[in-house]
Assembly symmetry: C2
Homo-oligomer: 213 residues x 2
């Protein structure tokens, strides 16, 4: 039995996927070595080999991994071959940025619906989609059996939007509102608190420049 992959290892797999994909695009080589991945990503060689054991791909000692096989096994493991349809609520700047972003399809994500409560936004075309009235949210989720909800509303609306999504049977929420959602149901919540992530930088600067106060 394969052990459950730890979250930090899972977080590195998309990086390996990115490197091996661009390697295949640029080079005419059958194999890719863990030391090549290590150089590109500044991650320890041994760490990379341990991570790849979770996806059950075997390398050849002193040669490396079959690059195409590695790419495909990673894509399959990460679910990129499945097309995951999502709806997004909150068509502000961040919501618009996500709706217009071209790179998601490669990762299996297709945003198929946009919702807002602002009459000025409803009906506008954003990234080829017409912004729909938030009142139609539950109906659309159910009708098209959407599994993923993306929340890019201001913090104060996030909880009620999440509850509506869950009532309509969404399975995973990607939450960009800077608030911790209070959810009892067995739903997968991926929080993106951008301000929180800034803490890595502020902590680093504080540690390296202790004289600055």
């Amino acid at each position: 039995m394969v052990k459950k992959i730890p979250k930090p290892s899972l977080a590195r797999l998309p990086k390996y996927y990115q490197v091996v994909t661009s390697y295949l695009n640029r080079k005419n080589e059958k194999y890719i070595s863990s030391s090549y991945l290590s150089d590109c990503l500044n991650i320890d060689d041994s760490q990379i080999r341990r991570d790849l054991m979770y996806i059950e791909i075997g390398g050849i000692p002193r040669v490396g991994y079959d690059a195409k096989e590695l790419r495909d096994v990673l894509a399959d493991y990460l679910g990129y071959f499945n097309l995951n349809e999502a709806i997004l609520v909150g068509v502000g700047n961040l919501g618009t940025a996500l709706a217009e972003y071209k790179g998601f399809e490669r990762y299996g994500l297709s945003i198929v619906g946009l919702f807002d409560s602002d009459p000025e936004k409803i009906g506008n075309l954003v990234g080829n989609l017409k912004v729909d009235n938030i009142e139609n949210l539950e109906q659309v989720i159910k009708k098209f059996n959407i599994k993923i909800g993306i929340i890019t509303t201001p913090a104060r609306y996030a909880q009620q939007i999440a509850e509506k999504m869950i009532k309509a049977n969404i399975k995973a929420i990607w939450n960009f509102a800077p608030v911790t959602l209070d959810i009892d149901e067995d739903i997968f919540i991926q929080d993106e608190n951008l301000a929180e992530n800034f803490s890595f930088i502020s902590h680093y600067l504080k540690e390296t420049e202790p004289e600055k106060e």
Copy 2:
């Protein structure tokens, strides 16, 4: 000597900060328990106590932590008391969302300059800042001794922008462009690859619904 904090522990500290801050705003209580934090965040009690040992704050058994002390020690540790000035390059939707976001100051981040190469954007007012010409980037960084550069350009420009920032002596880069920067210098890079983070969701959906292909 205090051990260096592991990255997953560091990543949780802003969440504790958020909970203890809202606890102090809403309740008139001196102490906050690790089990309260645990309930709010769905993180193990024992994990929370281990994380807080890194910031050298002691709790009282069966009572908890002094809430104000906890908030202040976390804020200090995370560098929130320092005001960190940053400049941002790439005033598209994502750049605009970050520039207009009101929540950063609480985390010690102040965006003080916006840059773009698009003549249609230069001179526009975004979140109280006038968009400056990218040609002035290095000069402004040096003049105001800016330590943090935020990159929200398309992927193909990110490397050259990063190099310009580093030449002007920036210390940390917050990179939102979906590309791995190739940097030799001792610079702190915080990558935010939103599409990569989606992998947590796609992997989860694949694991829980193996029949879907």
